[in-house]
């Protein structure tokens, strides 16, 4: 007998296990009791697992609906009207916008020369619209 081969006691336990097919519900219960296993507790746990999963599946459409609703809300929310904001707010927001885009964006706008406040506001609004559209698409794909 090699080390991987089951020994006689292992075979005996295997055999008893395989023959559990022939046991009635009551016999199964008694045998489990002898092994210290409370089958009712296990079945209760099983029922809870299955019920939780069923509920999760039943409510899946609601989650999808919520996600769609959220993406629509984002898409439909009117963007901040930067052209109506105070000049100092537009300047701060535009500086933040340049910083967020990294050196490439900063260089691109530097080459454009001096921008008017109106240009900055228009760029900020266009960027926000783009961001919302991207977010909306991202939510749709999940």
């Amino acid at each position: 007998m090699t080390n991987d081969e089951p020994g006689p006691m292992e075979n005996l336990l295997n055999g008893l296990d395989q023959q559990s097919d022939a046991l009635s519900s009551d016999q199964l219960r008694i045998e489990l009791q002898d092994r210290g296993i409370d089958i009712d507790a296990l079945l209760q746990k099983m029922d809870a697992i299955i019920a939780a999963h069923d509920k999760h599946e039943r409510l899946a459409w609601m989650r999808v609906a919520d996600e769609k609703k959220e993406s629509l809300r984002i898409a439909e929310t009117p963007g901040a009207q930067w052209s109506d904001q105070k000049p100092e707010h537009v300047l701060i927001a535009f500086a933040r916008f340049l910083k967020a885009g990294g050196p490439e964006r900063a260089l691109a706008f530097k080459n454009k020369g001096t921008l008017s406040l109106q240009d900055m506001a228009a760029i900020l609004e266009a960027d926000e619209r783009l961001q919302k559209r991207t977010q909306g698409k991202g939510t749709d794909s999940t």
Binding site: M1, N3, P6, G7, P8, M9, E10, N11, L12, L13, N14, G15, L16, D17, Q18, Q19, S20, D21, A22, L23, S25, Q27, L28, R29, E31, L32, D34, R35, G36, I37, D38, I39, A41, L42, L43, K45, M46, I49, I50, H53, E57
Partner: protein, 217 residues
């Protein structure tokens, strides 16, 4: 959830299937005892691997099949699917709870001082003399336990033959054919033997079995 799994879980025999899965998981854990594993027991007397009982493994198996972490094979019965998952869960948990499997990796160099590849220079996996000796002892224990069990049914030829047949790995149909008895009679022998189960379920060696047999309970 896989539709076939959903259908299997809705079948009237589902509760008995779960009970059989629990027996299988418990048996699997107990088989490790005969390989030298020393399990712990819950307050209710359930045998454990790590801190998990057969019940925990079965419920985890159902959960994994339901959430798709383990694939449900519709060509096999629910019990086979559950048993397959519990087997691997128990094996993984046992490996985790074994404290002997960790070997520190040390950087080694060859004669010229170049770092050597630990994979290509690894020695073949073979049992150390200690491990071999321990394995032989465990097998000898199993043989002596079977001998003691058979002897404890002195005068009951049928039961003695049944135990002998089980110990060499015969299945129900083979035992029925070998002993010339019906399947129902084989089942009756099983029932009788498992009544005796407390005496050999969970014993860790021959001496313990002998003590339990002598206690006569």
């Amino acid at each position: 959830m896989n539709p076939a799994l959903k259908a299997a879980l809705a079948e009237p025999g589902y509760r008995d299937t779960v009970a059989r899965a629990a027996i299988h998981a418990d048996t699997t854990i107990r088989r490790y005892i005969w390989r030298g594993y020393r399990p712990r027991y819950s307050a209710q007397g359930e045998v454990m691997v790590g801190d998990k009982t057969a019940k925990d493994f079965v419920s985890e198996a159902v959960l994994r099949l339901i959430n798709g972490r383990r694939a449900f094979d519709p060509s096999r019965p629910l019990l086979d699917n559950l048993n397959s998952v519990t087997d691997s869960l128990i094996s993984a948990e046992k490996k985790r709870s074994d404290r002997s499997g960790i070997v520190d990796y040390t950087k080694e160099t060859d004669e010229e001082g170049n770092p050597s590849d630990p994979i290509s220079t690894a020695v073949a996996i073979a049992l150390t003399p200690d491990e071999k000796l321990r394995g032989d002892e465990l097998r000898e224990d199993q043989r002596r336990c079977i001998g003691a069990l058979i002897a404890s049914f002195d005068g009951d030829d049928e039961m003695q033959k049944y135990i002998e047949a089980l110990s060499v790995g015969f299945k129900r149909s083979e035992i029925s054919e070998l002993m010339g008895i019906s399947g129902a009679q084989v089942d009756e022998l099983r029932r009788k033997l498992t009544k005796y189960a407390r005496k050999f379920f969970g014993v860790t060696n021959f001496e313990e079995l002998q003590r339990r047999l002598q206690e006569g309970n």
